[in-house]
C-alpha cells in the first residue's frame, strides 16, 4: 500500500468499528466484546446496565452490541430497517467534563470531520421502561441525520446513578451508510475488499438472515413456546434473586431473556395493548430486582 494513503481513514463497516474501538481504548475504555445473548439495545449489556450503578467508582467501557428488535424486521426489503443491527456503545462513569469534545473527536476518528458538517445536539430524553432507567441528553444530528444518542444516565433499575455515567450509542449501519454515501444498508461495504477479490457487502452477510428471521419473528415463532419461555425466565430470575445469597448476574441473564421474549411475542402480535403495559412492568420488576441484588453484592464484597 502506498504510504501517501496511510493517513486516510478507512470507511468500510469493520474499519469503522475498529477505529471506534481504538479511539475509545485510547481514552482509557475497557474494550469489551458483545454480550452473548439476544438484547434489544447495547444498554442491556451488563457492562452498561449494572456497571452504571456500581461497584466501580470509575468505569469506562466500549463495545459493539448486536441488537435484535423483532418488530423492525422487513424481510430484507426495507433499505433502512432490520430486525438485527449493530450498536456501538460507550459508557464513561463519571461523565467527563469534556464529554461532548470526546464524542466529537470520535467522529473524526471514523472519518466524519465535524468541521466539514453541521453537527447538532437536539433534545432527546432517554427512557427505558423495561429497565426502569432514564437519562437526559440529545440525539446528535449530522447534516440533519441522527447518528448517535448521547445520554447522561440518572437512574437505572429505579436506582439513582452516582456518579452519573455518560452513555453514547452509535447506530453503526446508519453512520456507515452516511460515511460511505450508500442509500441501502445491504450495499454497505463490510471489509474494504473489492468484490472481485471476494470482498463482502452487508447484504452478502446478513440479507438471508433478515429474510429468514423476519419470517420466524412475524409468522412462524411458536407463541405458546415463547410464552412458556417467558414464564420460565421470569420464574428462574425470581428464584435466583430469592436465594439467600442472590445471584445477580445469572438472574440478570434471565431478565434479558424475558425482555427479548416479550419483544418476540410483541412481533407475533399476540400481546394486546392492555397486556403490553403489564408485560413491560413484569420485565421492569425483574430488572429492578437484578439491579438491587447487584448493588447488594457490592455491599457484601466491599464489607467483606
Amino acid at each position: 500500500m502506498p504510504t501517501s494513503q496511510s493517513d486516510e481513514i478507512r470507511t468500510d463497516f469493520q474499519s469503522i468499528i475498529l477505529n471506534l474501538q481504538r479511539h475509545w481504548a485510547k481514552q482509557g475504555a475497557v474494550v469489551l466484546q458483545p454480550y452473548d445473548m439476544e438484547v434489544g439495545a447495547g444498554t442491556f449489556h451488563p457492562a452498561t446496565t449494572l456497571r452504571a450503578l456500581g461497584p466501580d467508582d470509575i468505569w469506562r467501557a466500549a463495545y459493539v452490541q448486536p441488537s435484535r428488535r423483532p418488530s423492525d424486521g422487513r424481510y430484507g426489503e426495507n433499505p433502512n430497517r432490520m430486525q438485527h443491527f449493530y450498536q456501538f456503545q460507550v459508557i464513561f462513569k463519571p461523565s467527563p467534563a469534556e464529554s461532548q469534545a470526546l464524542y466529537l473527536d470520535s467522529l473524526k476518528a471514523i472519518g466524519l470531520d465535524p468541521d466539514k458538517h453541521d453537527i447538532r445536539f437536539v433534545e432527546d430524553d432517554w427512557e427505558s421502561p423495561t429497565l426502569g432507567a432514564w437519562g437526559l441528553g440529545w440525539e446528535v444530528w449530522c447534516d440533519g441525520m441522527e447518528i448517535s444518542q448521547f445520554t447522561y444516565f440518572q437512574q437505572v433499575g429505579g436506582i439513582e446513578c452516582n456518579p452519573v455515567p455518560l452513555e453514547l450509542t452509535y447506530g453503526l449501519e446508519r453512520l456507515a451508510m452516511y460515511i460511505q454515501g450508500v442509500e441501502n444498508v445491504y450495499d454497505l461495504d463490510w471489509d474494504g475488499v473489492p468484490a472481485a477479490e471476494g470482498g463482502k457487502t452487508y447484504g452478502d452477510i446478513f440479507k438471508r438472515a433478515e429474510v429468514e428471521f423476519s419470517g420466524w419473528n412475524f409468522e412462524h415463532a411458536d407463541t405458546d413456546m415463547l410464552l412458556g419461555h417467558f414464564r420460565d425466565a421470569e420464574i428462574e430470575c425470581g428464584r435466583l434473586l430469592g436465594l439467600e445469597t442472590p445471584l445477580a448476574l445469572p438472574a440478570y441473564d434471565q431478565c434479558m431473556k424475558a425482555s427479548h421474549l416479550f419483544n418476540m411475542l410483541d412481533a407475533r402480535g399476540v400481546i394486546s395493548v392492555t397486556e403490553r403495559a403489564a408485560y413491560i412492568g413484569r420485565v421492569r420488576n425483574l430488572a429492578k430486582g437484578c439491579c438491587e441484588a447487584w448493588m447488594g453484592i457490592t455491599e457484601t464484597t466491599t464489607n467483606g
Partner: protein, 689 residues
C-alpha cells in the same frame, strides 16, 4: 448605579425551554434585587437564551443598599429596672441611647439603630447561587460526581457588576465547583475561543461581543434573522415561506442554532404527488425544515434548511446533500404508506377499529363510529342543505384511517388521510370532505368544518365524546381536562353559533346517551356546555356582565339563540338608546329598592291610567302593549329602546313621592312595570356601572 451581567454557559439547552429560561432568569433576578432593596424604578432586567448561553442583563441597580433604621420597642418607661436592663442587654445598647416615645398604650422605650446598606457587589453572589440552585427547569439532571442539577451540564458562570468580574463559586457537590468568571465562549465550531466580558457597558455591547463569536444571544433576533434570510433565499426561486405553518415550529428551529444560515434544498419530483399536508408533516413537523409555496400558491419542491454554520460553498453542499438524503428516506416511508394504505378500500379498515379502545368503559373506536353514524342521522335534519346519507356514511368511515399505516406514523394527519383514502375508494366528495374536516375545530383558533356534512360529523364526534366521558363521570376538574372536553364543547358551540344552527341540543344529547346505553344524559353536561358558551362569548370581547345578563342559569339548550341574545344585548347597551335606558334603569331600580325596603313589600307591576298625567301616560302606553316574545330579542330590545325618552321625560317632570299616597303608589307601580318588562328581556340587575 451599575449594570449587572449574569451568564451561564452550558451544554445545549432544549429548544423548547429557551424562551422560558430567559424570562425566568430575568424574573428571578428582578425579584432577588428587589428584596435586596437595590432594584430601581428605571432598572430593567432582560433575559436572553441561545442553545449554550443563558444570560440576564440588568440595568441601573443601586451600587449599595439604602441605609435603614431599625427600631425595637422595649418596655414602658415606668417598667421595673430589671425589665429595662434585660431589654438593654438584648438590644445591645446603653440606657442613654434609648429614646422615649408616646404610644396609644403609654410611653415606651425604643432602641433605634441605623443600619448602613451593604455594597451591592458583596451581596450578589449568594442570590445568584440561590437562583442557580432553584432555577425552575422543566427537567434537570446531575452529571459527573456532582449533586447540583441543571438542564444540562453547566460549564461557566460569568458575573459582571459595573463591568467588573464578581468573585464567587458554585459548589456542585462531589468535590467539584464552578468559580465565577468573566469569560464566555463563541460558536462551538466557528469561534470556540474565549470571549472576554470585562468592561461590558450595555446589553448591546454584550450582544455585539457574542455576535463577534458567531452567537446570536437574542432569540427574537434569531427569529428575525431566520425569517428575513429565508425570505430572501425563497425569493431567489420565486417562492415564499409558508409562514402560517412556520409559526408553530420557528422557536424549535431558532433554538437549535447559534448562527443560522439558510440553505436551499430540493424535494425529489417523485414525491411531489404526495398530498401537501403529508409533505408538510414530513418536512416541517418531523424535519423542522421551512416549506415554501410557489407563485401560484402550490406547495413548492424547494425547502429551506437552517444550518448552524457560517456559509461555505463546499460544506454547504455537503450539508444540503445530507439533509436531502434524510428527507428522501422520510418521504420514501411516507410514500410507502400512501401506496400501501390505498391498495385497500377504506371500508376494509373498519373491523380493525374494534381492536382499538376508545376509552375504558366507552367501548372501541368501532363502537364510537357506529354511534356517530346514528347520531349524524339525528343531527342532519337540523342542518340546512346537509345530505343526511352522506353525513351518516362519513361518520361511519370517519375513524377508519386510525388503523392505516400512515396515521400510525403521522398521527397529526388523522382525518386528512381518511379524506384522501375515501376519495381513492370512490366515495362522494361530500363524504370525503366530511371525513377530512370532522376533527375541526381543534382549538379556539382552528378553522371550522366548512361543508354541512362535515359540520354534522364534527358535531356527532364531539357530542359522542362529551356524553361518553360525562356518562362515566370523567369530567374536567380545575385545570385538569385530560380528554379535552372543554375543547370539544367549544367546538360544538363554535359550529352551532357560526352556522347559525337551531338544534335541539338536549334531544341530540339524549340520543347520544341512548347510543351508549345510558338511561339519561349526565345532569352536569348541559350546564357545562352553557358555561363554555359564556367563556366563548367573553373571549369574543363581550363584557362578562352583559353575558351574565343575557344568559340565565337555566337558559335551555338553544345555543345559537343564547349567543344571539348576548350579542344583541351587547350591541343594544353600546348604542345610545341602551346607555340612556340603563341610566333610567338605575334610577328605577334604586327608587324601587329604597321604597320597597321602607314598605317592606314589593310593589305590584300595575298602575291605574285614571291617575296619570300626560307624561305618565306616554310611558304607560308602550309598557302595557309590549309583547313578551323571548325568541325575538332584537324586537324586544327595540321596544325597550323606545322606552328611553318616556322614562327620561318621566324623571324630568314627575316627582314619584307625591303627597297623595294613591298617586305615589300608582307611580311606584309604573316603575315596577318598567322593571318587570325589562327583566323579561334580560337580567339587567347583572349589568355593572
Amino acid at each position: 448605579m451599575a449594570d449587572l451581567v449574569i451568564e451561564f454557559v452550558s451544554e445545549e439547552i432544549p429548544a423548547r425551554m429557551q424562551a422560558g429560561a430567559g424570562r425566568d432568569l430575568a424574573r428571578l433576578i428582578e425579584s432577588a434585587l428587589t428584596t435586596l432593596g437595590v432594584w430601581h424604578d428605571d432598572s430593567v432586567a432582560t433575559g436572553l437564551c441561545a442553545p449554550r448561553h443563558l444570560l440576564a442583563y440588568v440595568t441601573n441597580i443601586a451600587a449599595s443598599q439604602p441605609d435603614r433604621i431599625i427600631e425595637k420597642r422595649g418596655p414602658r418607661v415606668d417598667a421595673p429596672a430589671a425589665a429595662i436592663a434585660g431589654f438593654l442587654k438584648s438590644a445591645g445598647v446603653s440606657r442613654e441611647e434609648l429614646v422615649e416615645e408616646d404610644t396609644p398604650k403609654g410611653r415606651f422605650l425604643f432602641a433605634r439603630s441605623e443600619i448602613t446598606g451593604g455594597d451591592t457587589a458583596a451581596l450578589l453572589a449568594p442570590i445568584i447561587i440561590d437562583i442557580l440552585t432553584h432555577f425552575p427547569w422543566p427537567k434537570s439532571q446531575r452529571w459527573g460526581r456532582g449533586k447540583f442539577r441543571w438542564v444540562r451540564p453547566l460549564h461557566r458562570i460569568n458575573i459582571l457588576f459595573d463591568g467588573r468580574p464578581l468573585a464567587g463559586a458554585l459548589d456542585l457537590g462531589g468535590g467539584d465547583a464552578i468559580t465565577f468568571g468573566a469569560t464566555s465562549c463563541g460558536h462551538y465550531f466557528e469561534a470556540p475561543d474565549d470571549i472576554d466580558l470585562t468592561g461590558i457597558t450595555s446589553l448591546d455591547d454584550v450582544k455585539a461581543r457574542m455576535r463577534a463569536g458567531y452567537v446570536m444571544l437574542d432569540q427574537d433576533e434569531r427569529h428575525d434573522a431566520i425569517i428575513s434570510a429565508a425570505k430572501k433565499l425563497a425569493a431567489s426561486q420565486s417562492c415564499h415561506l409558508n409562514e402560517a405553518q412556520l409559526g408553530s415550529y420557528l422557536a424549535d428551529i431558532a433554538g437549535l442554532v447559534e448562527w443560522p444560515t439558510p440553505l436551499m434544498g430540493q424535494i425529489e419530483d417523485r414525491f411531489m404527488v404526495l398530498p401537501p399536508e403529508l409533505l408538510q408533516a414530513t418536512i416541517a413537523t418531523h424535519q423542522k425544515y421551512i416549506t415554501l409555496s410557489d407563485v401560484d400558491g402550490k406547495f413548492s419542491s424547494h425547502f429551506i434548511v437552517l444550518s448552524n454554520r457560517l456559509g461555505d460553498a463546499e460544506r454547504d453542499k455537503v450539508i444540503i446533500a445530507g439533509n436531502q438524503r434524510v428527507l428522501r428516506a422520510r418521504l420514501a416511508d411516507a410514500e410507502f404508506f400512501w401506496q400501501q394504505d390505498q391498495a385497500r378500500q377504506l371500508e376494509s379498515y373498519l373491523p380493525a377499529l374494534g381492536d382499538v379502545t376508545f376509552y375504558e368503559g366507552l367501548g372501541s373506536i368501532h363502537d364510537k363510529a357506529i354511534r356517530m353514524e346514528a347520531l349524524a342521522g339525528a343531527i342532519a335534519p337540523h342542518m340546512p342543505s346537509a345530505n343526511p346519507k352522506a353525513a351518516s356514511r362519513a361518520a361511519r368511515f370517519a375513524k377508519a384511517d386510525l388503523v392505516t399505516g400512515m396515521v400510525a406514523e403521522f398521527p397529526e394527519l388523522q382525518g386528512i388521510m381518511g379524506g384522501y383514502y375515501a376519495a381513492a375508494s370512490g366515495e362522494d366528495k361530500a363524504v370525503c370532505d366530511a371525513i377530512t374536516a370532522h376533527y375541526r375545530p381543534q382549538g379556539p383558533a382552528d378553522d371550522l368544518p366548512a361543508t354541512p356534512e362535515a359540520m354534522v360529523v364534527a358535531l356527532a364526534d364531539k357530542i359522542d365524546t362529551l356524553v361518553g366521558f360525562f356518562g362515566i363521570d370523567a369530567k374536567p376538574t380545575g385545570s385538569k381536562d385530560p380528554f379535552a372536553l372543554r375543547r370539544a364543547a367549544l367546538g360544538v358551540i363554535r359550529i352551532i353559533v357560526d352556522g347559525q344552527l337551531t338544534i335541539p341540543l338536549g334531544k341530540i344529547l339524549q340520543a347520544s346517551a341512548s347510543g351508549y346505553g345510558f338511561a339519561k344524559v349526565d345532569a352536569d353536561l348541559l350546564p357545562f356546555i352553557r358555561d363554555r358558551l359564556r367563556g366563548y362569548l367573553r373571549d369574543q370581547k363581550m363584557r362578562h356582565d352583559v353575558v351574565a345578563a343575557a344568559l340565565a342559569d337555566d337558559d335551555g339548550d338553544d345555543i345559537y339563540l343564547m349567543a344571539t341574545r348576548a350579542s344583541a344585548l351587547a350591541g343594544f347597551l353600546a348604542a345610545a338608546d341602551g346607555t340612556g335606558l340603563m341610566a333610567g334603569w338605575r334610577r328605577v331600580s334604586s327608587i324601587l329598592a329604597a321604597e320597597e325596603k321602607k314598605a317592606k313589600t314589593a310593589f305590584a307591576a300595575t298602575s291605574d291610567p285614571a291617575l296619570f298625567t300626560e307624561t305618565e301616560k306616554a310611558l304607560f302606553d308602550p309598557l302595557s302593549t309590549m309583547a313578551v316574545n323571548q325568541d325575538n330579542i332584537e324586537s324586544q330590545l327595540a321596544a325597550l329602546g323606545a322606552l328611553r325618552s318616556p322614562i327620561d321625560l318621566f324623571f324630568e317632570k314627575i316627582v314619584v313621592n307625591d303627597d297623595d299616597p294613591a298617586i305615589r303608589l300608582n307611580r311606584l307601580g309604573l316603575l315596577a312595570m318598567i322593571r318587570e318588562k325589562m327583566l323579561a328581556v334580560a337580567d339587567f340587575t347583572k349589568i355593572e356601572g
